[in-house]
């Protein structure tokens, strides 16, 4: 690991200032991606700004518009939280199958979405559930938050404070996990809402996206069979050692069908 300066701000304002003023500052949340990257010398930040001591960033609260999940809420807390399990069971399922237990005890929702790994679970969940990301500067719709391969709409010094999830009528998450890493080869969040069916896909492309054709097909007939004849143009999908683009396109359908079958 290359040397860096560890910073421990007591407020979001201080954290934002520290990371902005640093030569090459990085925010540290749960560290489940960042610390392994540092250990392998894949990253060499000058400063690590630890968000772990800032009060009020963790926990789930109920609001009129839905459930607000604080940025520093650990995956295990989301997976076991009674409000999440009651109102957004698909989100609890998703959080409960991220990585492994030790990772879920440390990893956070804010860290996961800010890192925006194309194979991470939360991005597909946020997009599928129509979540809104609240930062220290603004609110960003999930679909506008993920902008590319490990890229988000976040600006320098902008920090995720929480994610607001509207309550769907019902929701389910299914993923085909890479047997070694646990990451999603493809994951699908299906949410039935007052506004229609939403399908969020992760793992398949450079970043999470809504699968509009599946949403339309399921809107007409909500059954696994409604997706049977649906083909996805795989020319833009990831094609790597883990899975071909054509296989990922097929997994999109199969994972979505499995989620629908449980709803």
């Amino acid at each position: 690991m290359y040397a860096f300066t560890y910073r421990r701000p007591g407020s979001i304002e201080e954290a934002s200032q520290l990371v902005t003023e640093a030569e090459d500052g990085k925010l540290l949340a749960g560290g489940m991606t960042l610390i392994p990257s540092l250990k392998q010398r894949l990253a060499q930040p000058s400063d690590l700004v630890d968000l772990g001591r800032i009060p009020g960033l963790a926990g789930v609260t109920e609001e009129t518009a839905g459930l607000r999940v604080g940025a520093m809420t650990r995956h295990v807390e989301v997976a076991t939280n009674p409000l999440v399990r009651q109102h957004i069971s698909g989100l609890a399922e998703l959080a409960g199958i991220i990585g492994d237990p030790q990772v879920r005890n440390r990893g956070t929702i804010g860290g996961s979405i800010s890192n925006a790994d194309p194979a991470a679970d939360y991005p597909g969940g946020l997009v599928g559930l129509g979540a809104v990301v609240r930062t220290n500067r603004r609110e960003i719709e999930a679909e506008d938050f993920f902008t590319g391969f490990f890229e988000t709409a976040l600006e320098t010094g902008e920090i995720v404070l929480s994610v607001l999830f509207p309550k769907p009528l019902k929701s389910a998450y299914e993923k085909f996990r890479n047997p070694a890493s646990g990451y999603a080869v493809v994951g699908s969040m299906v949410a039935v809402t007052d506004g229609g069916v939403r399908v969020g896909i992760t793992g398949a492309a450079g970043f999470a996206f809504r699968w509009a054709e599946a949403e339309a097909a399921l809107g007409a007939e909500f059954s696994p069979g409604a997706l049977a004849e649906l083909d996805y143009d795989d020319s833009e999908l990831n094609d790597d050692m883990h899975a071909s683009a054509a296989y990922r396109a097929n997994l999109m359908r199969v994972m979505t069908q499995r989620a629908v079958a449980r709803l």
Partner: protein, 158 residues
């Protein structure tokens, strides 16, 4: 740069000067001499370094010592008193021969103890999922799962 961290390890208060980049496992092993916590990989996959931090199983190779400032840590050395008796999970691993070379065992035991604390009566499937963060290269999983299941039955009956 160095910084000062204070933490409680196995019930004993410690203070140490560490580098900003020092990992918790490095502090535990090199700083405090508690070498029961092992480092099996450099990629956060194997779980041999699992300790309990404020009651939760964590991979101590993926936590900075600075992040653990103020935390309560339990390592394999602190799971049961030195004069005994063994923790039920340690005892179960011994009885079921839940190890071959023993390198992964400290992490397996700490992960299993946390698993049983959260879910005292798990199914075999839940045990397998609960130990997903721990790798055994002797492929001794069969007896490891047997050990945890036997322990589960025992705590369930108690």
């Amino acid at each position: 740069m160095t910084l000062s961290v204070s933490l409680t390890v196995n019930g004993q208060a410690h203070s140490a000067e560490v580098e900003d980049r020092t990992l918790l496992v490095t502090l535990i092993r090199d700083g405090l001499g508690l070498t029961g916590t092992h480092v099996g990989c450099d990629t956060t996959q194997c779980g041999a370094c699992t300790v309990h931090m404020d009651g939760c199983a964590v991979k101590s190779c993926t936590v900075l010592a600075a992040q653990a400032d103020g935390a309560e840590i339990i390592t394999i050395e602190g799971l049961s008193p030195p004069e005994g008796p063994l923790h039920p999970v340690q005892d179960a691993f011994a009885r079921s021969h839940g190890l071959q070379c023993g390198f992964c065992t400290p992490g397996m035991v700490m992960a299993s103890a946390a698993l049983l604390k959260a879910n005292p009566d798990p199914t075999e499937e839940q045990v397998k999922l609960g130990l997903e963060g721990n790798i055994c290269r002797c492929t001794g999983y069969f007896n490891i799962i047997k050990a945890v299941m036997s322990c589960a039955a025992k705590t369930g009956a108690a």
